[in-house]
């Protein structure tokens, strides 16, 4: 456990010094600091437009950070030969991989926390609506689970594909799981869909991770919309994410364990 923690800590240390990640984070922070002030230009209800944009920025930035942070993690360690010194110590490959994963998630959590805190502060200064703060804070917590799952996907692919391929695979999985998920759902449910198409839609829905579950902005934005059995929904969604993460990490460990480094 100590080895995993040591590797995770060093990963955080590296991640917070990666300029590309810091630039992405900085741009997001700049956007988050002006969004609440810009919302007066919106023709939509001021508060919901602001919150919706805040969520979009946090989610998109986090996904970008999660992917960029993770895709280079293992290949860089191999290319720079840092992995050799580590594996020559009493550290197993699975410990190395888990350490890297937890380090990535911790770094991501830190960056998401900074974005969320700034968003909450700016929202409060511009809207003086303290009652909404807890609601707004709820969504990034689910996004963190979503991004942990996305990190696990990128980590899994990084055990056997090059960073560029991994980038497209991870982005593809995320897009299919977010934007396209409702579309596949409607194909799968529609009785008029072609059987082959229906089967493919069902396969994608069941096998590929469903990131759309982590988006609960509608009940936050519109008080009339409620989630049935809210607590159960959150438990199931988080549990689904953790289960998926566990499966991906196990598969990644199996592949990485036999890989030439």
């Amino acid at each position: 456990m100590q080895a995993i923690w040591a590797i995770a800590s060093s990963t955080v240390g590296e991640a917070v010094r990666r300029k590309v990640l810091l630039v992405i984070l900085l741009i997001a922070l700049l956007l988050l600091s002006i969004i609440p002030a810009l919302s007066i230009l919106s023709v939509r209800t001021e508060t919901s437009a602001t919150i919706s944009t805040i969520f979009f920025v946090i989610r998109f930035t986090s996904a970008l950070i999660a992917i960029i942070l993770t895709i280079y993690m293992i290949p860089n360690e191999i290319e720079r030969r840092t992995i050799y010194t580590i594996l020559s110590k009493p550290v197993q490959r699975w410990q190395f991989l888990l350490g890297k994963y937890f380090g990535a998630v911790l770094s991501l959590a830190m960056m998401m926390a900074i974005m969320t805190v700034l968003a909450l502060v700016m929202f409060y200064f511009n809207h003086r609506d303290a009652g909404k703060l807890a609601d707004i804070a709820r969504q990034p917590v689910l996004y963190l689970v979503e991004m942990s799952l996305l990190t696990a996907i990128a980590m899994f692919f990084s055990t056997f594909v090059a960073p560029l391929v991994n980038f497209f695979l991870s982005v593809g999985f995320w897009l299919v799981g977010t934007v396209l998920n409702p579309l596949y759902d409607s194909f799968a449910q529609n009785p008029q869909s072609q059987p082959a198409f229906k089967l493919m839609a069902k396969f994608i829905l069941n096998v590929l991770p469903n990131f759309a579950n982590y988006d609960v902005k509608n009940p936050i934005l519109h008080p009339g919309v409620i989630i049935q059995n809210e607590a159960s929904y959150y438990i199931k969604t988080v549990g689904y994410g953790f289960l998926y993460i566990a499966v991906l990490l196990i598969l990644g460990i199996v592949i990485f364990d036999r890989r030439e480094v």
């Binding site: 100590q2 590296e14 840092t82 992995i83 050799y84 594996l87 020559s88």
Partner: protein
């Protein structure tokens, strides 16, 4: 790699030599369990390769290592120490002192020179008080001062009773510090043994004058004769009886101008071993 049987004595410095691509680093990585053999098995300190108990008593310094540049020298040692489940800052500081980096302990690795990085690498390799150290090209690309510092450190490891396994191209370095060597070529051992024994069979160059060609030929019967402007150069095996040669030349009223023993160098042995393997391959192919 082919079948490889390396015999390394406890407490010695063992040189593992070979041309580029011979399989030196691959062998070390296999012994460390970093890469896996496609078949067969291997043992280090009597235990199967990859055994984590062995990893507690061995250490490794890779060729041209790269360390986490954001860490300071001290942080780096603390990081590697934590991989053993330890958090002994005093030990880390002591090791930095030992490799003359105490004053630079708070500098980040990207501020370290190549020699300093190599020294911090040696410090990390001592964290677990190892019985056996694998050093891959420990002096590669270093200036003469850094060379000497690293060499002295390696010699001090032997004085402490540690076994050191060095893979290197620096033959003069290896000749200076190694007790035994193995030369590997194309994945198999071409020579292995004590350096003193492997380097036996040097030459003796004797320059004589005032003797006729017939006598010179007789004297150089075990070697080669070269005619010079004022005499002859006899190139013969070092085992020849020097006193008998001197006596014979004197009794013929000649003069022995010089006697130079030409010790066999590791470089000669290396070239001989590598070419020998290559020639035997050609012969096998021809047959």
């Amino acid at each position: 790699m082919k079948e490889l049987d390396l015999h390394v004595e406890e407490g010695e410095i063992f040189g593992f030599l070979g041309p580029n691509g011979a399989g030196k680093t691959t062998t070390i990585k296999m012994l460390l369990g970093i890469i896996y053999p496609s078949y067969g098995e291997g043992y280090v300190l009597g235990r199967e390769i990859g055994d984590m108990d062995v990893h507690r008593v061995i250490s490794y310094l890779p060729e041209r290592p790269y360390y986490y540049e954001h860490m300071t020298g001290l942080e780096l040692l603390k990081f590697y120490d934590s991989l053993f489940g330890n958090h002994d800052q005093a030990k880390c500081q002591k090791l930095l002192e030992r490799v003359n980096l105490a004053a630079d302990a708070s500098k980040t690795i990207n501020q370290y020179s190549k020699g300093m990085q190599q020294r911090v690498g040696l410090a990390q390799s001592l964290l677990n008080d190892p019985k056996l150290l694998f050093l891959d090209e420990p002096t590669g690309g270093l200036d003469p001062i850094a060379h000497r510092e690293i060499r002295d450190l390696i010699l001090s490891f032997r004085d402490e009773g540690r076994t050191v396994f060095i893979s290197s191209h620096e033959l003069s370095e290896v000749e200076l510090i190694c007790d035994r060597v193995a030369i590997i070529n194309k994945g198999e051992i071409a020579r292995q043994g004590k350096l003193t024994e492997l380097l036996k069979g040097g030459r003796l160059e004797v320059t004589v004058s005032g003797v006729d060609e017939g006598l010179a030929r007789k004297l150089s019967s075990g070697g080669v004769l070269h005619q010079l402007a004022d005499g002859y150069l006899l190139d013969m095996p070092e085992e020849e009886d020097v006193n008998a040669i001197v006596d014979t030349v004197r009794s013929a009223k000649g003069t022995v101008l010089s006697m130079v023993p030409r010790r066999k160098r590791l470089e000669d042995l290396f070239v001989e071993a590598v070419r020998g393997t290559a020639n035997s391959k050609i012969a096998e192919a021809g047959a």
